[in-house]
């Protein structure tokens, strides 16, 4: 296990203590309890925010198969924990608001926007970033397919596209329906329409979409062929 953090115990204790006292003296932001019938209730969040010092918390999680313990400001997103604390800079910060998909990673088997979740919410979680999918010497089939089909231009969105693409094929395989699935009760198939719809949370300003689709189609075909041969290369 590796331990990361910029605060020793005494510093952490000092920060926590300062935060706790700030919380205790903070001005209440909420009105009195609202009547149950909901008539003219007071504002749920009126007034200014209390002034508070940064608060540190510890979180332990597994990243690309390695156990990590981090000491982070509670405000740290999973994206910033990966990039700034663990120096896994493959995962990119694009919009930082869940709109572009550049920060997509796979957490406990599901693709998510790492910019819209706090690191401390993932105690015991398992995170896979683009660095964990494959290595330059041993690429993941999706990484190899992106290279083969030229599925990028500037490359900034590519780690998110690849993490998303890997998870999309898993979602189709798991039978999760999408907006373009014709019948809700039939298993969805890895068609172009399905892949395009499911990849809509990943934006590529260079417009590499058709080549990304070719890469995904290639891997989906490998999977089908692999399953027929009794193995799954993806």
């Amino acid at each position: 296990m590796r331990h990361h953090g910029n605060a020793d115990v005494s510093r952490r204790g000092l920060l926590l203590g300062a935060a706790a006292s700030a919380a205790l003296t903070a001005t209440p932001r909420h009105g009195q309890a609202m009547p149950a019938d909901g008539d003219a209730p007071p504002a749920p969040h009126p007034g200014p925010a209390p002034v508070m010092n940064p608060v540190m918390n510890r979180v332990s999680l597994t990243v690309n198969g390695t156990a990590q313990t981090l000491e982070v400001d509670t405000r740290t997103t999973l994206l910033d924990a990966l990039r700034e604390h663990l120096h896994l800079t493959g995962t990119k910060k694009g919009c930082d608001h869940g709109q572009c998909g550049a920060c997509t990673v796979i957490v406990d088997g599901r693709r998510i926007n790492s910019c819209l979740t706090l690191a401390i919410m993932h105690e015991g979680g398992s995170v896979t970033t683009v660095e964990g999918l494959g290595t330059p010497a041993r690429l993941h089939p999706m990484q190899a397919a992106f290279v083969k089909h030229d599925g990028y231009q500037c490359g900034y969105c590519t780690p998110g596209q690849i993490c998303s693409a890997v998870a999309v094929l898993d979602e189709i395989k798991a039978g999760i329906p999408s907006h373009v699935t014709a019948s809700l009760t039939d298993a969805p198939q890895p068609t172009h329409a399905e892949m395009r719809e499911r990849m809509s949370g990943n934006i590529c300003r260079c417009g590499a979409y058709s080549n990304i689709l070719d890469a995904m189609t290639d891997v989906a075909g490998q999977r089908t062929a692999g399953q027929q041969n009794g193995r799954d290369p993806a």
């Binding site: 009126p46 508070m52 869940g98 599901r110 706090l118 809700l184």
Partner: protein, 321 residues
């Protein structure tokens, strides 16, 4: 983001009690909307209570043949549940019409209901907004309002509720179950969860401070053809200009025996007028006239009235088969 303290909830009742008593406390579940707003300092909680460890993530059959959906069930899991796909198709369809795959994997059932408006003036801290800063004025009225509400709005706010899922829940007559800070439970019909803005648009629901949604229940299936049509500026990953959630029972001489319909993208809450459904056999124009009788559109969004009628017409055509 402003600094905040953080704890993991130990039980729903404990979470509700703490949220009512700790100054500036907020619940966090998926966090996809809350963190977005915290980064803009539109939401500035002093304390977050994380609900993810409470086990509220199950979908169970109810004794009367319905479904009880835990508050923390993710949008993806709800859309993919075979009971939902078979018997509550409008809900699956609405869920997969919303957001992106990444967001649906995280966003929760209760969080979806409680998400805040995407009105661009609410999202811009440099602009007056009665919802964000009570009493400061509404920039959307007289501003760019093409996306915004046409009915149920007020002089103080014309924002829409952005959810697709909630529109389907409304047409399914869902009930919201909560636990209150004192530990008491209550059940709120989905129609009564969201408030109209009136002169207090910052008060968006009838929940009291600290009251925690624990589940959403659906009554036993009513059958029918269940459809969700969403009209938007992009083919995917965009909020509705207008959406129609519908349950239609084909039959009769005019093709429809009965029908229920709710609109999204037009109002501060999922918009359903039960009395208008009596006109279903007369067609989309008559039903829309009833649904939007009180509409007060802006010049920018007047088109939504005709768009709603045409979208409903398409739904009726599809339902007749």
């Amino acid at each position: 983001m402003k600094p905040f303290t953080y704890e993991r909830a130990t039980s729903p009742a404990d979470a509700a009690a703490k949220a009512a008593s700790i100054p500036g406390a907020r619940f966090i579940a998926g966090g996809t909307n809350l963190l977005d707003l915290m980064k803009l300092q539109i939401e500035t909680p002093a304390h977050l209570i994380d609900l993810n460890g409470l086990g509220l993530d199950k979908i169970e059959d109810t004794p009367d043949g319905g479904l009880r959906i835990g508050a923390l069930v993710r949008n993806t899991d709800l859309a993919a549940d075979m009971r939902v796909r078979r018997h509550y198709g409008v809900l699956s369809r609405a869920l997969v019409a919303g957001a992106s795959g990444q967001l649906r994997n995280v966003a929760t059932t209760a969080g979806n209901l409680l998400q805040r408006t995407r009105c661009p003036y609410f999202y811009d801290p440099n602009q007056p907004c009665n919802k964000r800063q009570p009493g400061s004025g509404c920039s959307a009225i007289g501003g760019v309002s093409r996306q915004l509400g046409i009915v149920g709005t007020s002089e103080a706010c014309i924002a829409t509720h952005p959810s697709d899922m909630a529109v389907a829940m409304r047409v399914l007559d869902a009930t919201v179950e909560t636990v209150r800070p004192g530990g008491a439970f209550r059940a709120i019909p989905i129609a009564d969860l969201h408030r109209l803005p009136g002169d207090t648009p910052h008060v968006e629901t009838t929940l009291e401070q600290g009251e925690l949604i624990t589940a959403v229940t659906l009554p036993k299936p009513v059958g029918g053809v269940q459809l969700y049509h969403k009209v938007r500026d992009r083919a995917s990953y965009a909020f509705a200009l207008v959406s129609v959630a519908a349950i239609m029972q084909p039959g009769d001489t005019n093709g429809i025996a009965w029908g229920r319909v709710a609109l999204g993208g037009v109002a501060p809450k999922p918009w359903r007028v039960e009395a208008a459904e009596a006109h279903m056999k007369q067609g989309a124009k008559a039903v829309t006239a009833g649904l939007l009788a009180d509409a007060r559109p802006t010049a920018d969004n007047r088109f939504k009235i005709k768009l709603a009628e045409r979208t409903l017409a398409a739904v009726l055509t599809e339902a007749r088969g």
